[in-house]
Symmetry: C2
Subunit: 320 residues, 2 copies
Amino acid sequence: MSPTLADIAAASGYSTATVSRALRGDAAVKPETRAAVLKMCAKLGYKPSVGGRILVQGASAFVGLSLGRTDHATARYVSLLHQALSQQLTETGWALRLVGSEDFTSSLSSVGAMIIIGTKNDDPRIQLCREQGLPNVSIGHDSSNTGFSVVPDDGGGARLVARHFARTGRKKMAIMPSWHPEDDGIVRVRAAACLDEGKKLGLHPELLGPVNSLTSTLDGYRSINAARNKISGFDCLFCETDEHAIGARAALVDSGFQVPRDIAVAGFDDLPDLSADLTTVRQDIPRLAATALELVSKARRREPPQQVVLPVELVVRKSG
Amino acid sequence: MSPTLADIAAASGYSTATVSRALRGDAAVKPETRAAVLKMCAKLGYKPSVGGRILVQGASAFVGLSLGRTDHATARYVSLLHQALSQQLTETGWALRLVGSEDFTSSLSSVGAMIIIGTKNDDPRIQLCREQGLPNVSIGHDSSNTGFSVVPDDGGGARLVARHFARTGRKKMAIMPSWHPEDDGIVRVRAAACLDEGKKLGLHPELLGPVNSLTSTLDGYRSINAARNKISGFDCLFCETDEHAIGARAALVDSGFQVPRDIAVAGFDDLPDLSADLTTVRQDIPRLAATALELVSKARRREPPQQVVLPVELVVRKSG
DNA sequence: GTGCAAAATGTAAGCGCTTACATTGATTTT
DNA sequence: AAAATCAATGTAAGCGCTTACATTTTGCAC
C-alpha cells in the first residue's frame, strides 16, 4: 500500500503533525523542515489519501468547479482548464466537484471552496458564495469583482496580434467579435483591445458582424461566408477564439483566398491539437489552474483578496 | 453544520454501523431498515463528508474517469456524461478524478476504480486495469470486452432512423459516417446498422465519404459541401453524430435545399440545446451514468462481469 | 416449548489525517 | 542572570466513517 503520513514522519524523523503542517503549507514550519519532508514524500512516493480535510477540520474535501450556462464544458478551453485543475488538485488530496448551473445553490453546502468559470459583471454566483461565506475564486472577466480572481491578459494578447499584423506590413484589419446572449462581454474585451490598438497603428480596423456563439467553428465559417463580399477589402483578420479562427480560415480558403498571402488570420487561446498551424495568442492553462488553486488556499485562510492577471504570448504560425 | 452519520443513527434509533451499511448498500441490512434510514437522511439533509472510504476501508475515495485521446472532453456528449457522473457520485461521497490520456498509468494507484470512456477493441487501458486488479467499467464499444461495460444501443438507434425514413416515404438514403484515425470503429456501428436496415427496407443506402472527425459541426458542413453535386440524388441523410447533422443541415440549407422537404436529416445523441430542432436518436445520459456507477459498485464487490446495453429512443423534430 | 442456524444489528477498534494544547530550546528583555 | 518571549515541534484527542467481531433476534425444524 501507499505510504501514509505516519510513514513519512517515521522516515524523516518528525512527528505526523509536523509532516501534516508541512504539506498543508502552515507558516509555523521551518523552511528546511518543509523541504526535508517534501523530499521524503517524493522519495517514498507519498500520495494523500481520503481526500483529507485540508486547512479546516471538518470542512469539505471538495472544491466546486462551476461552469457558466454557456460554457457547459462544451468548449475545449474549459475542458482543458478542468483537467489541469483536476490534476493539480489531486496532488493535494482535494477533489474537484463539477457543478452544473442548475444545482449551483444546492452544491454550496457540500464544497469547501468554489472556483467559478466565466464570471461576468455582478455574477450572481459570486454573490451567493459571499452570502454563505464560502471561499471563492473566479476565472474570467469581472471588472466589478473585489474578491479573488485570475484572468489571462486578454487585452494585452489582442494588442500583440494587432502589433504583429502591423509589423508584418498588413494595412487593413477585420475583427470578428463573438457574442452570446448570456455571455455578454466575457471575451469582448479582446475585440475591443484589438480595435483600439489597430486604430493606433493605422490598421483602420473594422468590426464584422458578431458570431453568434463563443466556440463553434461552424459559426466562424458561416460568419465569414456571409461577409464574403466585404472580405477582399481586408488583409488581416482577428478572431476572438481559435475555434472562430479555424472556421474563418476554412471559409476564406473555400472562397478562394490564400491564407496568409491574401489575408492573415489570427485567433486566441492556442488549444492543443486544434490550433495546429494557427497564429494565435497562447494562454498558459496549467499556470492558470495553478494560480487559481493558490488563490483558493489564500481564500480559505481568509487572506485579503487578490486579482491576478496572467501574461500571454503571441505564437506565430502558418496562418499569419 | 451538516448532520453526520451519528446524527442519522440517533434520530432513527439505529447504530452508526447500521446506518453506514444501509447507505453503502450492504446486503446484510433489512430493506425496511434501509428505507427508514434513507428517509431520515432525506429528512435531515444528510450529505456524506470527507469523500468517505466506501466499501473497502483504506481504499481510495476516487473514481477515475479516463477519456480517450480524441474525446478529450471536447465533445459535448462526453462533457454531459462527465457532469452526470459527477453529480450522481456526489450523493455517495465519492469523488470523480479526471484522468488524461497521458497520465493514465500513474493515476491507477490513486483511484479505487476506473471508468473508461470511448473504449475500442483490446483497449490497452482495460488491460492495464486488469493487471493491477483495479475494478473498471467501460463506456463504449468493445466487442471483445469481457469485463464490465455499458453502451447505448447504437445499432438499434440507427435502425430506428432508417425505419423512420422508410415510413415517411423517403426513397434514397445517404449515410455520412465519421472517422478518426485513433477512434476507428467507436461510432462506426451506427453507420453499419443504418446501412443494413436501409438495404432491407429498400432505401438503397449509400455511404458518403467519411467525415474526418467525430464531433465537429464544421467538418459536417464541409463534407456535405464537398459532396454537393451528389446530394440531389438523395432524399434523406443519416449522420453519426448530432454535430455532423447540424453541420450537414447548414450546408444543405446554404446550398439551397429545403430541409426536410427536399431532404430529411437525422443525427444521433440528442444533446440538450445543441440538437434543438433536429430529428435524432436520444441517449439517456443520466441513466448511462447511473448504470456505469452501479457497475462500479459491482466491480468493487468482485461480482461477475456484466455487459449492459441501454435502449435509445427516436425523437422526430423539424429536420426530418 | 427447545435447539440452532441464519439474519439483522450493535460494539468498538481502528483508518489517515488535522489541530488544540503542551513542550522545548533559543533569543531577547529586564 | 533570571524572566519573558517566541519560533518550532511534539503529544494526543479527536474527525466522520468503516468493519471485524460480538450479540441479539428471527424463523423453523423437531
